[in-house]
Amino acid sequence: MAIRIQMPLTREQARTLKAGDSCLISGVIYTARDAAHKRLCALAAEGKELPLPIENATIYYVGPTPAKPGDAIGSAGPTTSYRMDAYSPTLIALGETGMIGKGKRGPEVVDAMKEHGAVYFGAIGGCGALLSQCIKKAEVIAYEDLGAEAIRRLEVEDFPVVVIIDSQGNNLYETGRAAYLKSQA
């Protein structure tokens, strides 16, 4: 039933996904939290090159625990996305097509998603031990000084997500709650 997505995600593919779709992501994605987003946007403002290929990239909002010996990564579930709201429109305009996190987004992010064709995925918050099993390789590619908040290149296999907000602005947090309440009425 789940839609299989091979990264990178083009704008055209992003536009086909609908709020509520269950997806399994495979391929390369990148990690960044607010501290890294702040630096990326500062570089963009100066017109400098970013330390990750942003065109068609998906960014996962995660700060993993340290990997135990023999593991690719530690526990790695999503962090709350609204802290990235100030930065996401800039990255979406530069080519970012996917974001993975949890929780609500501001209207400025949704507007940028609609304008450029991007999608907001949710991974299950508080399930870091489970999700880390889908991450096969992790490598710090920038901002090592940020520790858990450094930018990492991840290779993932069948990483489970749900489309929360699609490129038309439909929102699973609204439709899912309304559908449940209707079923109980």
Partner: protein, 279 residues
Amino acid sequence: MREIAAQQITDTVERLCVQANCHLPRDVKERITASHEGEPWPQAREILERIMENYAIADGNDRPICQDTGMACVFLKVGQEVHITGDVGEAVHEGVRRGYAKGYLRKSVVGDPLNRVNTGDNTPAMIYYELVPGDQVEITVAPKGFGSENMSQIKMLRPSDGVEGVKDFVVKVVEDAGANPCPPIVVGVGVGGTFDKAAYLAKKALMRPLDQRNSDPFYQALEEELLERINGLGIGPQGFGGKTTALAVNIEQCPTHIAGLPVAVNINCHVTRHQTEVL
């Protein structure tokens, strides 16, 4: 006077940091299982199943349940007949330092709230001392994630707002939080005291086992009513819709001033972690 070496406190805190982050308490697991059985919405049941699968993996492999291994909140109940040899505060911080290194836990503390440089070892711990009768020391370590901490609120209500005002505020805080604090959540409520005491009580309420209701029948009924109202909001696990928005509402109350009615709501995610040992 019983003597306890500070070293013993360090060893205990170290052990509790790792245990609390990798093993969910029994009462929380039981509430999640019971909520799954009572959840009518298929998508919500599916998410609760993933949550159960996650803590089973964490249990089996000594892995952190969540990547946000929190700020270490440490509660010390120190018996009046105990003499601790050494620096008790430093002993706790050292225990956190060692536990977070040894357990491969994330270091999530910045040394200054505005200049924001990571301390690199998850210290300092947030320590709460309580002097109690007896010759024992009870230590509880409760790692607190900030996805849910950020959704917590406090309000100084007017006495005329009464119990209805308290109920409406608690429900509003949960509704405003929506999907952000990783529902299903545990809602800790502190009513009364002063501004700071209400917040402390709300945090303390999160330590109470979820199968243990308030001993005062009035507050027990209030806990049950609030849980029902919150689970009627339809937010559901992860905010995707469903019945299970909260696992429990725990209230702690306290005498207050004739002019005031402080209410604090401290939200915890479904990974409500705490481990206790008695020395």
